[in-house]
Structure formats: C-alpha cells, structure tokens
C-alpha cells in the first residue's frame, strides 16, 4: 500500500510538483529502497531531458516563408512589427 502511494508521489516528484517536505521524505525513503530510488532518478531524468531540449529556432527565413505561403494562398496580410518598448506600458496619470 505504501509503495503504491510512493509510486504516485514519484510522478509528482519527477515533475518537481512536490512540496519540499514531501520531496525530502520521499528521498529519505529512497535510501532504503533501491527500486524506488531507480524509479525516481530515471523518471526525473526523462522529464529533465524533455524540459532542457532547446527550442526549434524560428528564423527570419521561416518567418518570411510563412508570410509568403499566406500571401500565395490569397491572404491579405501586412506584417506588423512589435510595439516599441516605450509604448508597451501606460504610466499612471497624475491629476
């Protein structure tokens, strides 16, 4: 029964979703349970590999090619540059 609970906790542990106290408790439990320790380590590593994966680069060429594809399929699209930083925030008015 306890190991079933640990298994569920391991899922949360792998995604760094456990509160610190439970996290420590689980790591302590893993000291005396090689199977649990292996489960925790390999699952967390799997999540780490995914989360550390670098993002696909959105290149200028890709940006332009996508625009061209939209034009060529008849879309009236006009590229819009992001707002300059000084226009992005409104300052509070002083009365």
């Amino acid at each position: 029964m306890k190991s079933e609970i640990y298994k569920k906790l391991v899922d949360l542990y792998a995604g760094n979703e456990l509160p610190a106290e439970l996290n420590d408790q689980l790591e302590m439990a893993a000291f005396n349970d090689p199977e649990l320790a292996h489960d925790m380590a390999t699952l967390r590593k799997t999540v780490d590999i995914l989360q550390r994966d670098s993002e696909p680069e959105f290149t200028e060429e890709s940006y332009q090619r996508i625009l061209l594809k939209m034009y060529s399929r008849g879309a009236a699209i006009q590229p819009v540059a992001p707002d300059p930083a000084h226009l992005q925030y409104s300052l509070p008015m002083q009365g």
């Binding site: 590593k45 999540v47 994966d53 670098s54 696909p56 996508i66 399929r73 879309a75 009236a76």
Partner: protein, 181 residues
C-alpha cells in the same frame, strides 16, 4: 494579471476585432503575437521545418477564414493551438502513408542532436494520447490547465496521461538515460 499577459490580452482583443472588420494588418498582428509559438509547437509535432512552416501558415489562414466567429474571450490562444494540432496530426497521417523521414536536428552540438533524434523517435512511438501532453507540458511549457483546454480533456485526465506518458517514454529511452549526464 502580470504586465506581459495583460498587454498580450489587450493586443489580442484589438487584433481580433480588427480582423472581423477586414483590417489587413490584423492577421499580421496575430501572426507577430503567436507565429513563433505556433511554429515551434508544429516543429515539435512534425520534426520538420518545412512542414512546420506549412502548418503555421495554414493555421493562420484558418483564423482568417473564420474571423467572423472569433471571440476575444481568452479562448483564442487555446483554439489556435487546437487548430495547429489538428493540422499537424493530419500531416503526420500523410507522412505515415508516404513514409517521409523526420528532420529533428535543428540546432546544438552533435551529441545533443543525437539525443534529440533518439528522444523524438521514442516520442513518436508512443500513443498520441501520451505524446500530446508531453509535447505541450514538458517541451512547450504550457500549464496543465492550458494543455487540457487545447486537448479538450479535464485537468486530471491530462495529468494522468502526462504521468503515464513520462513512464512510457522512460521505458523506451532505457539505457540512454544511464548514459546521459
């Protein structure tokens, strides 16, 4: 609401309203807001730059075609990702029929590229119901709530699939995990 989220929400409302009025800048505005995220998501799904560009363009063309139905009520972004996902799934089905090779080496060292190819090959072997939460939550960093909305399932169902998917991927990666620092 944090400043960035508030600004995005206001900009989104502005462009959706403008799109409904036929403003030619509106689609460009939405593309400048979401183009990169949709492209990245499509690339993660398809492992191929050219296909990801096609899927991104088609996603925004669908926005244009359905501009009259759009509502700026916060659901737009979820809807956009849902469209992109459906287009990617259609494309994956076609690829499967044609047996086209993936192209997962988008950047980084040779070692990381090899790792990425292995991880993506393992991901591709998982059932779609596991792949989706892994791509949305672990690769694209969507919250569980947002991913659940995109997939049109409950948050507990999303989490259950995510946890089972991680275990299935772990089992596929096997000895690679021992060799990866």
């Amino acid at each position: 609401m944090p400043n960035d989220a508030l600004r995005d929400s206001l900009a989104e409302r502005k462009w959706i309203a403008a799109l409904a009025e036929g403003d030619p800048e509106a689609l460009g505005g939405l593309y400048s807001m979401y183009g990169e995220r949709i492209f990245r998501y499509a690339y993660r799904m398809l492992n191929n730059r050219s296909d990801a560009e096609d899927a991104t363009a088609e996603t925004f063309l669908r926005v244009l075609r359905r501009s009259a139905e759009l509502r700026a009520d916060g659901a737009f972004r979820t809807w956009l990702f849902r469209i992109a996902r459906n287009l990617c799934i259609d494309r994956l089905r076609q690829q499967k029929l044609l047996e086209l090779p993936p192209d997962a080496q988008y950047s980084g060292s040779e070692e990381r590229s090899t790792l990425r190819v292995t991880v993506y090959q393992a991901l591709e072997q998982l059932p779609r119901e596991y792949q989706d939460p892994l791509v949305l939550c672990d690769l694209e960093d969507h919250s569980a709530k947002e991913a659940a909305e995109i997939l049109e399932i409950s948050v507990p169902a999303l989490k259950s699939r995510l946890y089972r998917g991680r275990r299935a991927l772990r089992d596929k990666l096997g000895s690679l995990l021992e060799r990866t620092p």
